[in-house]
Symmetry: C2
Subunit: 693 residues, 2 copies
């Protein structure tokens, strides 16, 4: 690394006022109860755990982040594997719970090549193994004696799982399966931890018995030698190459050439092949995939708040430190204005600040609903519950709610991850030129997050599921078969009131604002239903309408969840009136800003008047920006993202933005060890200065 | 690099229909005259030159791109310097014109460390040197005996040039300047080619004579030794570190500690210091910055079309090759549908296809106007013109037009670069999972393009200039002092017709569509004027309105330029009626899709009715998508971006998408040379397989 700068450089300070002074002022001027709010958001326990874990990680050199963005893929991958190994060692040494292990992995700031072993491989083995398989695969995997991955997606098939081409054919004669890749497009692709790390894989393949296809099923397959780590015969496996992000992960490809695997390879907790009769045995109990996927998506929604919070924290703090130009209307001695004072900056950042709170509370609301419902449906199976089984009516209501949650989770996953992904890029640009530096901390985070918009259901594809569900619910309501769930209710109230019209008082009454969003969803649902059922339009011609409908419905859910969170009695037990008031304003900003952006929908549905929309834009939103501005830094402080995790010169909690940018560029940047021969007629570049060039 | 795959893998093909067959069908089904259209877009001469240059570049191993995305920054920078050197050698060997050199550099696909030397350093020396300086600096720079850069931006100041902190103080006693960085924030920052390459810099510094500040002026300063390439004393210089993109460029920092430089260092074509009197001498002729910046921005608009075309070409071809799911309404033997047939994909890609044409024609329209006006104003100074000087009236009209062009170029630069940057990300996501692979070719291109949204005027900042100009024009029109330029005219027609209302026939008459966009601009201008002049609202509170106004005005200009291009007689001389008809539909798609997205504005201004907007969305846009779909591949083919330039598996013109993804991953990916020790209890990773792990 480069030698330290000369004394005259070390003596230089940024011109005043200093970033630390500006942030101190920001914190003084706000009466938001930062710590109490932090505990409301994350719980005291989680915050304390985070502090401890960061201390552990920060003290180990292997977790150093300073070179990550300068390294090539080979070096990054090796460094990430070292991090993954050390994390696993720490986990054993310190007897971390699974939750603690995952919390620590999350704090690292980048995925490691163990990530898919530690998540999907273990989870699938846990959920889908029979007792014998648990012993053979799961127990060894938990001890990292075998390392695995989850191989579903193929080169030719991502979204359409039923179209997978890999086959597993049952051989009755020797009680084995033949695993085969009949085409190049059958190659497994994008499989995390597969490229260089895993020696086992759960492979999703079309199960064939005779000529009959029983659809995709999971098989545990050894793919590399446990001693030499070389691929087994008739297995071709490798890494799929550099990516837009996620370059610390060895996403891989995998092909099979008529590989024989034993009967035990097929994960058989649910369905299996009876080796005696050579018959397929259907699942005894229905798979719980429905619920698991809802849970995964609820987590993406909750995480989206925190993902976005990183960008907003960085941009808000930096825009409070950065000063540029004088306000045109200010007197000429005022000095340069903090960038955060400009309305054009506020209108980009503060709605995102509101969004991160909105998504967080929405994710939490979904989880709560999901858990309550699960407990109710499982009856006695949950600890601490009385032992009566739920009656058939309770089960029906539970299943109805779960179906509702499942559908809404699809739309919310799409909205939340799109908001977070695109929001991060807005934050990056709000930082001006320095946002483009890796030291901003936003770019790398954004690049690594983007796959979330595509995986667990592509964000555009998912909206069809939401529309399908809403159309079904609307048909039920029209047939007088509405249920008590929320979707059914908003459709019913719309029908009851449609002829009278709406005229919600969105500017004065918060609950009316929620009602306006519900109205818009219902309006778009019945419009779409008319197109499909009455006008008999093709599904394809309605995809754009369905996407709009799903977005509208998901925005309604976020507004509703945020409203419930800021109106809940729980709030008052955590924070004082002043803080609660600011949260309420964040809710209003989220709702009104969204309404204004989607004005055409709201107007066309008759939920609001053009006059109300004009007032929203020209008065209400601007006033809320003014009201929230003084609390902006406190509101991101409350998220309590440690500096080590942010890994950002611009977002440092102490405001020493310029010092840190300069220190990293001059001291941690391996490029500055190079000496170029700059003349085109010489064959450069030189590693060391020549005496004569 | 990894060894070739075994025979059984080499025998595999993608499952059919093959990509090459699908693209062949696409090309068959369209009657667009691809080659004629290509010549209309680029001219035959440019296309031929491109072909020749690509042949030259492709044949030299130094320009190989296959490892770029896998390398770390140190290696990428060294490889880029080698490319820059070889390009300069070729330029001399083959006697390239300056235009050919820049065309070749553009085809490389990444900037080299010479980029700022070859552009801003040489341009500044050319434009601002006096004869003695031309000899001393320019002539040597052109021969690459000295290598330079252009050092304006500082750590603490980007947009606000007047706030720069670096000082150059005149020393009357020894006729020198003292160059000094008084604070850390004065460090030059982001300076391309400075970090490791340049030995000279044009430094913008506040000129002081005595205690009087004469504002920022350019100084040519030697910063590194010409033989050892080590920084000179009292100069601290280096690379600023890794970035979101542009990592083949050594953007640098630079600090001075009271460095003395001679009188000749100050570039003195316009203003200078008289060393006898120690007095500042004002420019004899006004600087032409106004025109140059307009020219630079017109180029950004023109380039934006081609930048976007790369993403659209890749996504369109891939979505024609990729098949996923069956159409829900199709019969069950239909097989999977080409992704490009889905309306949700079309509505994302085809408006961008229209945009790339729209931006291209707009950029060309601006350039033409600019050149015509320059010729007229320069009179005899242009070759091939008659020798009469223009009269005072012609000069006044020319200045008026130039002012209009300058302001509109600001707004268009913002709109065009935002459209291209964000459009590339839309293209990437439309490619589904594989869009995330670097082999898609979109990600690296997007990352390198993003700075364009910030430099040459931040896209949000620029909108203030547009608004300021429009307000001024509106005040003039209200005072009866309108001119004959277009802006003045659309404001006047709005005033003349405002009371009667508009009701443009946007769905039937193309010129009315243009008029509706003009109407909206005029409406928003007078609204903003009322807020500022009548309601006396603060400038800051209006920034969001100004941004909307600038966007609206720029969209009008794009629609107008596109309309003029598809209505021009020139079109008929290049392409047949069928092709012209498709271009006309692209124009309508661009205009109607934009109108629908900005519906609230159009409705509020009274330009259209709600009914028209509904029809636009539910009928007109969908019908245009249907009409354009069969020509999509031909319309991107017409852009004629060579495969070597696209550097994309997904966008290959032969449709061999999966073969190429697989080849690159398995054969060009250095990660596959690694053998990991996957067990956390060992200290890995191993470079070679151990006999026992």
């Amino acid at each position: 690394m480069p030698s330290p700068p000369p004394a005259w450089v070390q003596a230089l300070k940024p011109s005043g006022p200093q970033g630390s002074e500006l942030l101190a002022k920001e914190r003084e001027q706000s009466n938001v109860a930062v710590n109490a709010l932090a505990e409301l958001l994350h719980t005291k326990k989680t915050l304390e755990r985070q502090k401890e874990l960061v201390q552990v990680l920060q003290s180990e050199k292997v977790f150093d982040k300073s070179q990550s963005q300068s390294l090539g893929r080979v070096d990054r991958l090796q460094s990430a594997l070292r991090k993954g190994k050390r994390l696993q060692q720490l986990s054993v040494e310190r007897k971390w719970s699974l939750e603690e292990y995952h919390a620590a992995a999350g704090l690292l700031g980048e995925p490691t090549p163990y990530a898919l072993h530690a998540s999907m491989f273990l989870v699938t083995l846990r959920e889908q193994s029979n007792p014998e398989q648990r012993k053979l695969f799961l127990e060894r995997a938990e001890k990292y004696e075998i390392i695995g991955c989850y191989a579903q997606t193929e080169l030719g098939h991502g979204s359409n799982v039923r179209g997978l081409e890999t086959t597993a054919t049952w051989n009755p004669e020797d009680k084995t399966f033949t695993l085969h890749s009949p085409a190049l497009t059958a190659s497994k692709w994008w499989i995390g931890s597969l490229g260089r790390t895993a020696n086992h894989a759960v492979v999703m393949a079309q199960l064939y018995i005779g000529n009959k296809n029983f659809g995709p099923h999971p098989f545990v397959v050894q793919i590399r030698d446990l001693e030499t780590h070389q691929p087994l015969e008739n297995v071709y496996v490798g890494d799929i190459g550099p990516k837009f992000g996620y370059n610390t992960m060895d996403n891989g490809f995998l092909l099979f050439n008529n590989l024989k695997i034993p009967h035990i390879s097929m994960l058989s907790r649910f369905s299996r092949i009876d080796p005696e009769t050579n018959k397929y045995v259907r699942p005894a109990i229905p798979t719980l995939v429905y619920g698991t996927m809802t849970w995964v998506r609820a987590n993406i929604v909750l995480d989206a708040g925190s993902v976005l919070a990183r960008g907003v924290t960085i941009a808000t703090r930096y825009c409070a430190v950065r000063r540029q130009f004088q306000d045109r209307d200010a007197d000429s001695n005022a000095g340069e204005t903090q960038v955060l004072n400009y309305k054009m900056v506020q209108v980009r950042l503060l709605p995102l600040l509101a969004s991160m709170y909105a998504l967080h509370f929405t994710g939490r609301g979904m989880m709560k609903l999901y858990q309550e419902n699960q407990s109710r449906m499982n009856g006695a199976t949950q600890p601490g519950q009385d032992s009566r089984s739920p009656g058939p009516e309770a089960l029906r209501a539970g299943a109805d709610l779960l179906a509702d949650l499942h559908a809404t989770s699809c739309g919310l996953k799409a909205l939340a991850s799109t908001t977070a992904g695109e929001g991060l890029e807005v934050c990056r640009r709000a930082c001006g030129g320095h946002g483009y530096s890796s030291y901003s901390g936003i770019g790398p985070w954004y690049s690594d997050y983007l796959p979330t918009l595509t995986w667990e259901g592509d964000n555009y594809m998912l909206t069809q599921q939401v529309a399908r569900y809403l159309l079904k619910a609307a048909r039920a309501v029209l047939a007088g078969k509405g249920t008590s769930n929320d979707t059914s209710q908003i459709l019913q109230s719309y029908l009851a009131r449609r002829d009278k019209g709406a005229s919600f008082d969105i500017l004065e009454v918060d609950s009316e604002l929620v009602a306006a969003f519900a109205w818009r969803t219902a309006h778009l649902t019945f419009e779409a239903l008319k197109h499909r059922d009455v006008e008999k339009r093709s599904w394809n011609s309605l995809l754009v309408d369905f996407w709009r409908l799903s977005t509208a419905h998901s925005q309604y859910l976020v507004v509703k969840n945020f409203y419930e969170a800021v109106s809940s009695p729980e709030l008052a037990s955590f924070v004082d009136v002043a803080t609660a008031d600011v949260l309420r304003k964040l809710f209003r900003l989220y709702a009104l800003y969204t309404l204004e952006r989607e004005a055409a929908d709201f107007y066309a549905s008759g939920a609001v008047t053009v006059r109300q929309i004009t007032l929203t834009r020209t008065k209400a939103v601007l006033a809320l920006l003014d009201d929230i501005r003084p609390h902006a830094v406190s509101l991101v402080d409350a998220w309590q993202i440690p500096d080590w995790v942010l890994d950002s010169s611009l977002g440092r909690s102490d405001g020493k933005v310029y010092e840190d940018l300069f220190r990293r560029a001059s001291q941690e940047n391996p490029v500055n060890d190079l000496v170029f021969d700059p003349y085109p007629w010489n064959e450069g570049p030189l590693k060391k200065p020549a005496s004569k060039l």
